[in-house]
């Protein structure tokens, strides 16, 4: 296979680069070892930062967030819930920090407004009566799945080729160039080569591992962060704790739910990341200081992601851009068709993509300018189904009697599943339970997939999407994936749900008696 640019990593950064390059007319392939947003892009807080959070720690990042967030609100409003945000201090928080905060915001030209405590309680009745100061900023919530999918959809429309389940496993080098990149399809095990003029390493926390395959050292430390999803939405706006960044100090609304987090724990390895019971208890305890209902509320899911902390690379660091993300051209290390982009934020993904594409285009002698700064991101129908509460709204509005629900908790009808199946086919994929789960709310409601897992599986057989006994494996993987997110939250109602799930899948079906090998 040949292409002008091979982009490695199907997170938001890779997706953004694919779109940027495709819009400039560059031919590219986007390769992802698992599925869209399998890394940090699928495991973050979904906060479109106004920048206020970084005013005391990193002014450049703060400004960058402010500018990019403002731009995205215009370019991709369909992915954003422009909720606004509050910064809230409670009794015992550092008063000097509280006093400095509005000035620091002003210095970076980030809008901020002091809110009277009584008004704050009116805006957000869930706030603790222990609050001592409240400021309002322009934070918003963003749907990272929709954002990545829409970037990829447009990139594909402009000729980009997306390869899911395709992992980079090595490079064939010659002089100062990578001649070819060795790929493996993780479903079939087949390996093949891609010859590209330029290679972009957009693998986030994996960037050091991938560059290592080319013999290049990038020193990356891993910081794990865990988050919890509540059963219902707790606040209208984003709520931040007004103190230096710490554990569990942000609550972000997302459709009908809220997301609480996060932690920051140094880890050594990045595979098989899971939220733990200790983290959950800590997050709930801390969060409850701002919003006491968090102590009692029902949680339906937890997840964890890894932030790459880019240490000192030997040289070639494009420091001119920003300290927030690292764009490494690797020329100093003897390669001139390889680029690494890592770190940064979801909020600044577009800028990261632009700077990366600029560098790649210079090397390719492509002169067309970046278009993502002025062209709105088009909506894609198949990309909308991850938004909590959307499928039910549409279903109730346009309800066709034959459009029955596959998932009752989240009210996902057949038509939505059909739309997602088509989109997976368009990207040369084969739908299975997990892939549909990633692209919709299926399995994310109160039953955690207990009922809809069975229904979706039967529906895939009904449609002929599954034809062999691989469905059992698909079901097991789907259940394991869901389990990863509920295991640390199993007390009270969710524990009852988990027991029901096991009674059904193991008690009645005996699914645990089937090994992966004899499927």
């Amino acid at each position: 296979m040949q292409t002008e640019v091979l982009i490695i990593g199907g997170g938001i950064t890779g997706a953004g680069i694919a779109r940027d390059l495709a819009l400039r007319g560059v031919n590219c392939v986007l390769a992802e070892k698992l599925d869209i947003n399998a890394g940090a892009s699928g495991a973050n807080h979904g906060l479109l930062h106004s920048g206020a959070r970084y005013v005391s720690s990193d002014l450049a990042l703060a400004k960058e967030c402010w500018e990019e967030a403002s731009l995205l609100k215009r370019m991709a409003p369909q992915c954003i819930d422009n909720t606004g945000g509050l910064f809230v201090a409670v009794v015992g928080d550092d008063e000097k920090y509280v006093a400095d905060f509005p000035h620091l915001c002003a210095q970076s030209h980030i809008p901020v407004r002091e809110v009277d405590l009584k008004d704050a309680h009116e805006m957000e009745p869930a706030l603790s009566d222990q609050i001592i100061a409240v400021y309002q900023v322009e934070d918003a919530a963003i749907d990272p799945f929709k954002l990545s999918m829409e970037n990829i959809f447009q990139a594909c429309e402009f000729g980009c080729n997306m390869l899911r389940h395709t992992e980079v496993i090595g490079f064939v080098k010659d002089n100062r160039r990578i001649q070819a990149t060795r790929m493996r399809n993780s479903l079939t095990g087949k390996t093949f080569l891609i010859e590209a003029e330029q290679i972009v390493n957009a693998t986030g926390a994996w960037a050091g591992l991938v560059s290592g395959l080319a013999g290049i050292d990038i020193h990356i430390l891993f910081s794990k962060g865990s988050l919890l999803v509540t059963h219902s939405r707790i606040t209208k706006q984003v709520v931040n704790r007004l103190r230096p960044s710490s554990n569990a100090d942000i609550l972000v609304p997302g459709g009908t739910v809220s997301i609480l987090g996060t932690t920051s724990i140094r880890i050594d390895a990045i595979e098989d990341i899971r939220p733990t019971v200790q983290e959950m208890d800590m997050i709930v305890g801390e969060g409850a200081k701002m919003l006491p209902v968090l102590e009692k509320t029902r949680y339906i899911r937890a997840y964890a992601g890894v932030r790459p902390l880019v240490g000192s690379s030997s040289d070639g660091n494009d420091r001119g851009v920003s300290r927030a993300f690292a764009l490494i051209n690797h020329e100093g290390q003897g390669l001139n068709n390889f680029v690494t982009i890592t770190g940064g934020k979801l909020t600044t993904y577009r800028l990261m993509a632009e700077k990366t594409a600029d560098l790649v285009c210079r090397r390719l002698n492509v002169t067309s300018p970046c278009r993502t700064i002025a062209d709105p991101l088009p909506s894609a129908q198949a990309a909308q189904w991850t938004e909590p509460g959307l499928a039910p709204r549409l279903w109730l509005k346009h309800h066709e009697p034959e459009d029955v629900l596959i998932c009752e908790c989240e009210m996902v009808p057949k038509s939505t599943v059909d739309c997602i199946i088509d989109s997976i086919h368009q990207q040369n994929g084969q739908p299975d339970l997990k892939a549909i789960g990633v692209r919709s709310r299926i399995g994310k409601g109160a039953c955690q997939g207990t009922i809809c897992g069975i229904r979706l599986l039967a529906y895939l057989y009904h449609k002929g999407e599954l034809n062999t006994d691989q469905g059992l494996k698909s079901l097991r993987e789907f259940l394991r994936e869901r389990w990863r997110g509920v295991r640390p939250l199993l007390w009270d109602m969710p524990l009852i749900q988990a027991e029901m799930q096991e009674a059904l899948y193991c008690g009645l079906f005996g699914l645990e008696l089937y090994n992966d090998s004899n499927e």
């Binding site: 057989y461 006994d469 059992l472 199993l490 008696l513």
Partner: protein
């Protein structure tokens, strides 16, 4: 407000699941006056299969052909397992008495004497169990003999696909095939429900129509499998009638809950337990229990959000289940017993309750938490002695078992009920 009315009885059974209902049955059969309280609607989650003992040790995934040998072995390997407090004769008697009740209530069961059977599930797995509703028996035989078999699914019935089932088992059952039909008079519906079809099939005219739809597919198949929809009340007659009309044996495959097979059990308990004298309250909970006469008698408050009446009893059988049944409750720190606050055998802190892999063959440790008892199933207090002379705990609330993985749910429920009821009667008689 007037004082709530007091109902007197010998025995109060808390719980309307399999364990509580078996206890009420055994007690009533022995002339004991029984009051039974619980939320019966939950039993419709059950599948109708009666597991006795199927898998041990679970981490080795050893599936036993002979459940009695399995019980013997588990009793030796896990001395705290409830089966270790029971003997084979009692378990056999308990089963026989329960099955004869079901027969009189219109639900016939089938099993081998000393052998587990294997049944097809709606996802296409095969599960070991002991005793199945007779409507499933032809399927058990068909699988054993690998008969040419047709599985039929129904348009609009979610979560049940015949092709899925057949491709999953094809490798060891090559003669199995699938077909898809529309249930009579539902062409205009995009969704159909098992209960609705079961009710329809109570009418002969609908059976005639269904047979007509299925018949053209039957061809050379020896047996036909359908989702469990063959009636609610006259299931045996409906099965016979359809078999005659189609010309080959038919069997039911359990469906996902809430299922008709669960509903049949609910209806049987609800209708027939009162006929043998059980005073059954199916929409109420026991809110709180006090003892009088230095722990020899119990006064239980019964109601929903407020008290409706009190029950004065000589003994209580606690069959309140685990987390689903609400006999146990867990907060972030530990597991509690909900009515008496009895000590619960814990399996470490929350980080140890569940394993990382949902399907880990070792089974989740929390499933072994529960009440520890003496050999008569009297739960212990914190000092390790029976908490009350005539309080018994039975069924899934008991510690040191994992009914889900060992496939022993109904067996444990029925057998522990039998022993507790007999122990209670012996104590009363000795007075």
């Amino acid at each position: 407000m007037t004082d709530p009315k007091i109902i007197e009885c010998d025995l109060l059974v808390i719980g309307t699941g399999m364990a509580g209902s078996a206890a009420a049955l055994f007690a009533a059969n022995r002339g004991v006056s029984v009051v039974q309280v619980g939320i019966i609607s939950e039993i419709i989650f059950a599948s109708g299969l009666l597991d006795l003992m199927g898998v041990h040790p679970i981490q080795k995934q050893r599936i036993w052909d002979n459940p009695w040998a399995a019980i013997d072995t588990v009793s030796k390997d896990i001395p705290g397992h409830p089966y270790a407090k029971l003997n084979e004769k009692d378990i056999r008697n308990a089963f026989a008495e329960t099955l004869s009740f079901f027969t009189s209530a219109g639900i016939r069961y089938s099993s081998y004497k000393n052998r587990n059977v294997r049944v097809l599930t709606p996802v296409g797995t095969i599960k070991p169990t002991y005793c199945v509703p007779h409507t499933m028996w032809a399927g058990v035989k068909a699988l054993e003999d690998q008969q040419p078999c047709l599985i039929v699914d129904i348009h609009g019935l979610k979560g049940f696909n015949a092709r899925q089932i057949t491709v999953m088992v094809k490798q060891y059952w090559p003669g199995i095939h699938s077909a898809s039909i529309a249930f009579p008079d539902t062409g205009h519906l995009s969704e159909v429900y098992p209960e609705q079809m079961a009710r329809a099939l109570e009418l002969a005219s609908n059976r005639e129509k269904l047979a007509k739809v299925i018949r053209p597919f039957v061809k050379d198949y020896h047996v036909v499998g359908v989702p469990a929809i063959l009636g609610l009340y006259h299931t045996q007659d409906i099965l016979n009638d359809l078999q005659e009309k189609i010309g080959v044996p038919i069997f039911e495959i359990p469906t996902m809950p809430p299922s008709v097979t669960g509903l049949r059990i609910k209806e049987a308990f609800e209708k027939y337990l009162p006929k043998i004298g059980v005073r059954l309250f199916t929409q109420k909970r026991v809110l709180d229990v006090d003892t009088i006469d230095s722990g020899k008698r119990f006064v239980s408050k019964v109601g929903d959000d407020k008290i409706h009446f009190k029950v004065l009893a000589q003994g209580i059988i606690l069959a309140s289940g685990r987390f689903i049944g609400k006999g146990l409750h867990a907060d972030r720190k530990q597991i509690h017993e909900t009515i008496f606050d009895l000590p619960v055998y814990q399996t470490g802190d929350r980080s140890r309750w569940h394993l990382k892999d949902f399907l880990d063959s070792r089974g989740h440790p929390i499933n072994r938490a529960g009440l520890e008892t003496d050999h008569l199933f009297r739960p212990f207090d914190r000092s390790g002695h029976p908490a009350f002379q005539r309080l018994f705990a039975i069924g899934s609330i008991l510690a040191h078992q994992d009914w889900i993985r060992m496939k022993c749910g109904s067996g444990l429920a029925i057998a522990t009920a039998y022993k507790a009821v007999n122990a209670f009667i012996d104590m009363i008689d000795a007075q």
